[in-house]
């Protein structure tokens, strides 16, 4: 997810007009970098905060609990939930961008909906 992507408002409607052609490779690269960034957060909150640096973080208190302990038993789970919803939004946006640059007049995307 680069800077430019972040700046684009999340409403789908604004995307179709200002698109530039996006190749398969560009789409896939963006998808991978988005996943890698989100997975690094996933790694930091669980393995990092919850296991590797737990003692250090326990110096900080959140209510009556050490922050490291809290991350291991509560915080990481909340972050996981948030990560998936962020991913859903980013991917929907990316798919729409891709679709918009690949259909000439029909700019709607069915997202892989089956026609069976």
């Amino acid at each position: 997810m680069n800077k430019k992507e972040k700046d684009i408002p999340l409403q789908d409607t604004s995307l179709h007009s200002e698109n530039e052609p996006m190749t398969k490779e560009q789409y896939w690269k963006k998808n991978i970098s988005c996943v890698l960034i989100l997975l690094s957060v996933w790694f930091i909150v669980s393995y990092g905060c919850g296991i590797l640096f737990v003692e250090t973080l326990n110096q900080i208190k959140i209510g009556g609990a050490g922050f490291g302990f809290w991350m291991a038993q509560q915080g990481s789970i909340y972050v996981f939930v948030a990560l998936i919803f962020i991913y859903v939004r980013l991917m929907n946006k990316l798919e729409n961008q891709y679709a918009a640059s690949h259909s000439n007049h029909n700019e709607t995307l069915t997202d892989g909906e089956e026609n069976s």
């Binding site: 398969k24 789409y27 896939w28 998808n31 996943v35 989100l38 997975l39 996933w42 669980s46 393995y47 919850g50 296991i51 590797l52 737990v54 003692e55 326990n58 959140i62 209510g63 009556g64 609990a65 050490g66 302990f69 809290w70 291991a72 038993q73 509560q74 990481s76 789970i77 909340y78 996981f80 939930v81 990560l83 998936i84 919803f85 991913y87 859903v88 991917m91 929907n92 798919e95 891709y98 679709a99 690949h102 259909s103 029909n106 709607t108 995307l109 069915t110 997202d111 892989g112 909906e113 089956e114 026609n115 069976s116």
Partner: protein, 589 residues
């Protein structure tokens, strides 16, 4: 009304509900039988996935395991939720885009090989059967404890219910019953948690109670818990590590990638309409799972404190600090009858001493008090959830609700597993390999027949558990982590991995994991055949057999990569298939 009447009433009501759903949602085609017609909404699928996923182990045992392992128990919390992030990012959307019915089907086509499909079917059956035995056993035990039937009768009733909606409705029936089962189980888990949190911390939200203050003296709850248990020679709750940090790391990783490789969870994502719905329903699934998973650690800490203070009522070392046996609360005796709790008055003083007698230093101190060993000789993990309503003095219907919740958790998971097994038999083995020319109608009947077979097998193994049943659930994760997850990831993200690589990788991954488990726990868990023994010195870098799936997965990746390097490249049309599943589908209209 007494507890037993309430239990019959509530369990009876939920069972009637499941049967009603079964009759209403009969499957008419293979598409309905395997993927519920493919038009379940993301929210409904998320809820069904949550029930599919949360088993008797999550509902009954997890809070208890955390209660007695403290911080170390976090591996289950992070591992069993973090896997959904992997599912949403790396697996579910792509397999949904592929758009077929089973996981081995994808593996067979991506690696252009019936052998690969067959190996995947075998891995799937091994994983799912080990998993389902535990669920069936859970159903039988829940019945026998609460309704005083014997385990076999309970198990047969459970099988009958699953038979009804899984055979008639396939995935369609299972989906709608799982939604109902989620509602039952989450209500059953949170209601007692709210009351116990109110009682201990004055905060009705358990997640906040966990970081709140203990009502009686205003110190933080966790600090209080640490003090109370370390005073009795136990390790500190908030810092007790499970094994070593490396072991916790490997264990968490095994559980995460195992979760993302469990076929019965993956096939749930085939039931939604489109790829974006698959991603969204993974998010909803985790929301519904997180409600239970963030409540469980609160229940764990509170129940541990409550339990310890029930026995150690006052200052450690003073005679009056330990409860007199005649003054034990009613629930104590009741649970002793079920065998989940057991005490022995070793020093004959008419009071109970509960402390860590394997802590040498504290044992010596305790001996000075006239204590002759820990007198709480058995505390089953499950007691922490089961006895909660009674510890919090809740009415009989809440206790009955917990029973119905435990049954819902076990039945919903069992049904999902049975579907994964039967669809891989009827769709992958029969239609895919043995008799490719059968009609949809015949395949539907074959699906029903293999479902009946799978239920009978699971029931039989539940009644006569084989030796390996002991290791079941954690074992299933290790196997899924080392076989199915890596092959899916390579199938989607690494075009260079070919048929030979995938097959060699799966065999090597599951092989090395099984070998490691067997050498420490015995071949098929028959202890006498273990030649290394289950002891720390013999563990590979201190990694326990349960945590070894992560290592198996690495072996799988490495072997697949090397073998692919030296064998023929992936054919062009398969590379195109991979390209296709990576891209969003454009509207052709």
């Amino acid at each position: 009304m007494d507890v037993k009447t309430w239990t019959y009433l509530i369990v009876g009501f939920t069972f009637a509900l499941y049967i009603g759903i079964a009759i209403w949602s009969r499957a008419k085609s293979t598409k309905e039988f395997y993927v519920a017609g493919g038009n379940i909404s993301p929210l409904s699928n998320g809820m069904a996935t949550a029930a599919d996923w949360m088993s008797a182990a999550s509902f009954l045992s997890m809070a208890g395991i955390i209660a007695f392992s403290g911080y170390g128990g976090s591996v289950f919390l992070m591992g069993w939720t973090g896997g959904y992030v992997l599912l949403a990012f790396l697996v579910a959307p792509y397999l949904r885009k592929y758009g077929k019915f089973t996981v081995p089907e994808f593996i067979g086509e991506r690696f252009y090989s019936k052998t690969a499909r067959l190996v995947a079917v075998l891995c799937l059956i091994l994983v799912s059967v080990t998993y389902v035995i535990g669920q069936m056993r859970g159903v039988g035990i829940a019945f026998s404890r609460f309704l005083e039937t014997d385990i076999t009768t309970g198990l047969l009733v459970g099988m009958g219910i699953v038979f009804f909606y899984a055979v008639l409705g396939g995935m369609k029936g299972i989906t709608y019953t799982q939604i109902a089962q989620y509602v039952v189980l989450i209500f059953a888990f949170t209601v007692p948690a709210i009351f116990i949190s109110l009682e201990l911390t004055g905060n009705p939200i358990p997640q906040l109670g966990l970081i709140g203050d203990y009502k009686e003296d205003g110190t933080p709850l966790l600090q209080k818990l640490d003090t109370v248990i370390t005073d009795l020679g136990f390790g500190q709750y908030t810092s007790a590590v499970m094994g070593s940090k490396l072991n916790m790391f490997a264990f968490t990783l095994s559980l995460m990638i195992g979760t993302a490789g469990l076929p019965h969870v993956i096939i749930r994502f085939f039931t939604v309409k489109k790829v974006s719905d698959a991603r969204l329903s993974a998010g909803w699934a985790l929301v519904f799972i997180a409600i239970l998973y963030t409540t469980a650690p609160a229940v764990a800490a509170m129940a541990r404190l409550n339990f310890t203070k029930t026995v150690q009522t006052d200052k450690v070392g003073e005679v009056s600090g330990n409860i007199e046996i005649t003054k034990l609360p009613d629930w104590f005796d009741k649970w002793e009858n079920t065998g989940l709790l057991k005490y022995e008055d070793k020093n004959g003083d008419g009071r109970i001493q509960y402390y860590n007698d394997s802590n040498k230093e504290f044992s010596d101190v305790a001996a000075g008090y006239g204590w002759k060993g820990n007198e709480m000789v058995k505390i089953d993990n499950d007691i922490m959830v089961l006895a909660n309503p009674e510890i919090a003095d809740l009415p009989g219907w809440v206790i009955a609700l917990v029973v119905a919740g435990g049954l819902a958790a076990a039945l919903s998971t069992a049904a999902g597993l049975l579907l994964a097994i039967s669809s891989s038999v009827s769709h992958d083995l029969l239609k895919g390999i043995v008799m490719p020319n059968i009609s949809d109608r015949q395949e539907l009947n074959a699906g029903r027949a293999s479902m009946i077979g799978a239920i009978a097998l699971a029931g039989y193994l539940g009644i006569n558990p084989p030796d390996f049943a002991a290791g079941t659930v954690a074992m299933a994760f290790g196997l899924a982590a080392s076989s199915i997850f890596p092959v899916l990831i390579m199938g989607i993200f690494m075009k260079k991995i070919n048929r030979e690589g995938a097959i060699a990788g799966m065999v090597a991954g599951i092989g090395v994991t099984l070998l490691y488990v067997f050498q420490h726990h015995g071949v098929m868990f028959i202890a006498s055949t273990s030649y290394l023994g289950d002891m720390q010195e013999n563990w590979f870098f201190g990694i326990t057999p349960k945590a070894f799936g992560a290592v198996g997965a690495i072996v799988n990746f490495v072997v697949a990569y090397i073998v692919s390097k030296v064998t023929k490249e992936t054919p062009k049309e398969v590379q195109e298939l991979v390209d296709d599943i990576r891209l969003p589908k454009l509207d052709e209209a």
